[in-house]
């Protein structure tokens, strides 16, 4: 078993009367990706802020790379890198200057700093824009620059707070590739997200946070098993066909008013083909067909009994 990179026990934090974190326990193994999944307002950013020494906890212990964040903050800061929710780049500096500033602040020797800057610009595909001010960068480029700045010192543990929020799907995928490369290089990654898909794609373990409580923890597979599976939704032209289909497809849920049938399914090609073949055999015409896979809302509904959006309204 690998050692703990991040060990949190009984973490509590309140702002005034509002309890943001109510006794959180986490354990992220070195060299793995740990994802904290939850909607807005669940306490994800507060957790990251405590783990990265930005905010003091009210209770509990937090050890990062073996150091206590409260009493050994300097030692923690020396081994971590943080990329927050909003790209923390200097708009009036160029991409290269932003990276060079990080190298300088870490007191890298001139040659070493220059090499780090050059190789990061290449690795993040920012060479062409290196001499442009960051203010002129697109959202995706800013996130890339932000991450590159975090990597100047080769941190052992990287915290990513909603690193792809607001990015288009293409930029999101680019970021994922970059994160995977980090993990392949042995870095421990702690990533918060509100997208189940993102956690599923990246994480070895996922913890689900809701209103300051952890409601579930496990591998993506374990977590998805706790959630009702996906289904196929079929809509028919009238009640007669609907009833006929319901007789053919046992175990499906009938909605008379909407003329739809929900058939549990894993969404795979094989099972879908079998389903359609069966309808064909009985000459049942389907007016509309859609596949529904579980998303964060389903996970939340299953784990907490309320929708993820309710947490925002709080």
């Amino acid at each position: 078993m690998r050692s703990s990179a991040i060990a949190v026990s009984g973490l509590r934090k309140a702002y005034g009367d509002k309890i943001v974190l109510d006794g959180i326990d986490l354990d992220a193994r070195a060299g793995t990706v740990f994802s904290l999944l939850g909607p807005n307002g669940a306490g994800k950013t507060t957790t990251v802020n405590v783990l990265t020494t930005l905010v003091k906890a009210d209770g509990g212990t937090v050890r990062v790379a073996g150091h206590d964040v409260a009493t050994e903050a300097r030692a923690v800061r020396a081994v971590i890198g943080v990329t927050g929710q909003f790209a923390a780049v200097d708009d009036l500096l160029t991409g290269q200057e932003n990276l060079q500033m990080m190298a300088d602040l870490h007191h890298l020797r001139a040659g070493e700093g220059k090499r780090a800057v050059t190789s990061l610009l290449e690795r993040f595909d920012l060479v062409e824009s290196a001499q442009k001010m960051a203010a002129a960068y697109s959202g995706g480029m800013r996130r890339k620059l932000d991450l590159a700045m975090t990597l100047v010192t080769r941190p052992q543990i990287i915290f990513l707070d909603e690193p792809t929020a607001g990015l288009d799907p293409r930029s999101r995928r680019t970021m994922w590739i970059l994160f995977r490369a980090l993990v392949a290089a042995g870095v421990t990654v702690f990533v918060t997200t509100q997208y189940l898909e993102e956690a599923d794609q990246l994480a070895d373990r996922i913890a689900v946070l809701d209103r300051g409580h952890l409601v579930a923890e496990g591998t993506p597979g374990e977590l998805k098993r706790q959630v009702p599976g996906g289904d196929v939704r079929l809509r028919f032209s009238d009640v007669v066909v609907l009833d006929a289909a319901a007789r053919v497809l046992n175990g499906s849920a009938v909605d008379d008013a909407a003329l739809t049938l929900r058939v549990p399914s894993d969404g795979g090609v094989k099972s879908l083909r079998a389903l359609l073949d069966r309808l064909d055999e009985h000459s049942i015409d389907v007016a509309e067909f859609s596949v529904h896979t579980p998303d964060l809302d389903d996970v939340f509904l299953a784990l907490t009994g309320h929708a993820s959006t309710e947490a925002i309204a709080q």
Binding site: T52, T53, L54, R74, A75, R77, A78, I80, G81, V82, G84, F86, A87, A88, V89, D90, D91, L92, L93, E97, M101, M102, D104, L105, H106, H107, L108, M133, M149, T153, R154
Partner: protein, 253 residues
Amino acid sequence: MSTTSAPLTDSRIMVRRNLKHILRNPVTIFNGALMPVVVMLLFVYVLGGAFNVGEHYIEYATPGLILLAITYGLAATAVSVNSDMTKGIINRFKVMNVSRGAVLTGHVVATMLSSSVAIAAIIGMAFALGFRSPATPLDWLAAIGIIAAAAFAATWLTVALGMAAKTPESASLTVVPLLLLPFVSSAIVPAAKMGQGFRQFAEYQPFTPIIESLRGLLAGTPSGGYAAAALAWCAGITLAGYLWSRATFSKRA
């Protein structure tokens, strides 16, 4: 990678960063260096003829306009300080063992340097418009000392105001009083010529002794009383600005 911070190195990096900010923002350069010169032309050529100040107007107005050259650049500093605090970059510095004071030092030193340019421009312009001074080199040295003390005080106060503001927009508003105060001092016209209330205010506000001590030095008639009052004000404002900045910084950052 090092876990020990080097305040001097860090401060130098921050100064360089802030100077780049100033140079890359055309509005900052205009407000800081050109605006005071425009105001000088306005007062000397357009309005000055109407003021009877008992001497050549350019000689009367120059000390006050030097202070305007300091205050016009302050809005940029307040906005810049506030942006650092509100736009996330401060969090990056905080998780990096960057020495805490370096961020503040960077703003103060960069503002002092850009102020020096604005002050040099306004003094150069004054000479070009016919300003003549019988001051000895020693008087000039003393005058520069007072100007530097005033710029230092105004800068620390501005850093504190920028730090305390909620948004960059409101930060630029907080320095408006500093821009207006010189007009209700003996900068443009003697306090004695102002209306009831304003006159007393002008006589007792910090800009007046600073301006009067400069005026005395540049006219070759230094006044110890004004100079002492000016330096006392500057020291007090600097200390208050510094302590307030530090307190807000450790609370917010």
